[in-house]
């Protein structure tokens, strides 16, 4: 069985995987990180979005061995010591989640966007989450949450 070595949420991890394993299953079933959701299972809905070397990918159709030697960030990698990441806090403050199933993927897509482009326009935010489906909210609070996160992060100056 091949061994997958990667940096996962800042920590080196080593895990035995089947050659055909997909990253979402390895994260959830072998590493216990169930924050990453599997919904459509075919790269249509974005619930399984994680970052690989800073880029958002649908982990449910991403062969796990592609992550060999890469840096992977899941929703569990955001925030520290029970303090939410500013993006997560903005989602809470704007009441962006309803059922919540799409939210880990939404937050990761928002992070990918804000890391790459700290001052996105509303249209760029819409495009940034265009690979994520939400069946509850109609997206407005999610977009507003990302706008709020953008403003808070710019105030902090950490990304601006």
């Amino acid at each position: 069985m091949p061994t997958l070595r990667m940096t996962l949420n800042g920590q080196e991890v080593t895990v035995d995987v089947e050659p055909g394993d997909l990253l979402a299953h390895v994260l959830r079933d072998k590493l216990g990180l169930i924050g990453t959701k599997i919904s459509c299972g075919e790269g249509e809905c974005g619930a399984c979005t994680v970052l690989v070397d800073g880029k958002s990918v649908d982990s449910c159709i991403y062969p796990a061995l592609k992550a060999q030697g890469r840096e992977v960030v899941t929703i569990e990698g955001l925030g520290q010591d029970n303090r939410l990441d500013p993006i997560q806090q903005a989602f809470v403050d704007k009441t962006a989640p309803q059922c919540g199933y799409c939210i880990p993927g939404m937050v990761i897509s928002a992070k990918a966007l804000l890391d790459e482009k700290p001052h996105p326009t509303r249209k760029e935010i819409e495009e940034g989450i265009s690979g994520n489906l939400c069946r509850c909210t109609g997206y407005y609070q999610i977009i507003e949450a990302i706008e709020l996160a953008r403003e808070r992060l710019a105030e902090k100056g950490g990304r601006g």
Partner: protein
């Protein structure tokens, strides 16, 4: 799903791996289509040969007026490339409309070609650009026109169990040249197109010197509307000649009735609309002093 997952260090090693498995191994790049096809049993392989770590296949560059795009280059990289945006904007527009960001970050343009679907946005733009592909086989490498790569729906003439496409190339736009891409779909992201079209035009002395119109999915392979192009070449590119070319494109396109995509009549009517819009934008952009692309 498969028994082995290999990372060759060179194109030659990849081809050796394919040969060693006698048709049971298959090239994988981003895998955004292939993983699903494997799960569904539509494309079988025991061994996956992942080419995304071979050095030198990640380039987007211009040499002697030609733009080269390596087999690892993703739709996202093309959509964001200043070179492609300024010298082949039609391809940036097309690649930017594929899937969502997560798919564009992983799926490659070459994979889009090998997958050989007549609706593929990136491939439609490559048809309008009259692109060529470099094929690597055990006996050597050769260039072939993109039109030679399509044998039917999902059927590429390059068999990824025995060979691979290493790069694509096409002429960069010069003065008086531009292109545009238009797409009709039920929503703006994550859905396959009802129709798409990519056009390129070159203007000289106020007339259309050359044009190319590609349309999908209106046939088993991307459709090049040659008669529509003929109607336009030599004309002043005004409202009348553009409308006429768009009409001819609609007459010659053969969309099917589709539960997914709408009736043949509707789609024929929409071919005319999309081709007209694309030609208008391309002509406008080609009329700019510096042969810029038609990116909005």
């Amino acid at each position: 799903m498969w028994d082995e997952y290999l990372f060759p260090a060179s194109v030659e090693e990849a081809l050796e791996m394919l040969e060693a498995h006698g048709g049971e191994a298959r090239i994988i790049a981003g895998g955004t289509d292939l993983v699903l096809q494997s799960q569904r049993g539509q494309r079988r392989a025991k061994v996956m040969v992942d080419i995304t770590r071979i050095p030198g296949l990640d380039l987007i560059e211009e040499r002697d007026g030609l733009i080269y795009i390596g087999a690892q280059v993703t739709h996202g990289q093309i959509a964001a490339s200043p070179l492609i945006c300024s010298r082949a904007g039609v391809l940036a527009e097309a690649c930017g409309s594929v899937g969502g960001p997560q798919i564009r970050n992983v799926g490659t343009l070459v994979g889009n070609v090998v997958n050989a679907l007549p609706a593929a946005d990136g491939a439609i733009a490559l048809f309008a650009l009259d692109a060529e592909a470099e094929i690597a086989e055990r006996r050597g490498r050769r260039w072939t026109p993109i039109t030679n790569l399509y044998a039917g729906v999902g059927l590429c003439t390059v068999d990824p169990c025995f060979a691979m496409i290493t790069q694509l190339r096409f002429r960069a736009f010069g003065r008086g040249e531009a292109g545009a891409f238009e797409r009709l779909a039920k929503r703006r992201a994550l859905v396959l197109p009802i129709l798409n079209t990519a056009v390129t035009v070159r203007l000289d002395g106020g007339k259309v010197e050359r044009a190319r119109i590609a349309i999908g999915p209106v046939a088993p392979t991307p459709f090049v509307a040659a008669e529509a192009t003929e109607a336009l070449v030599g004309q002043t590119p005004d409202e009348d000649s553009i409308s006429q070319a768009a009409k001819v494109a609609a007459q010659t396109a053969q969309p099917r009735d589709s539960l997914l995509r709408g009736s043949a009549d509707y789609r024929k009517a929409m071919v005319e609309v999309l081709v007209r819009r694309a030609l208008k934008r391309a002509v406008e952009a080609a009329s700019l002093p510096e042969g810029k692309d038609a990116n909005p």
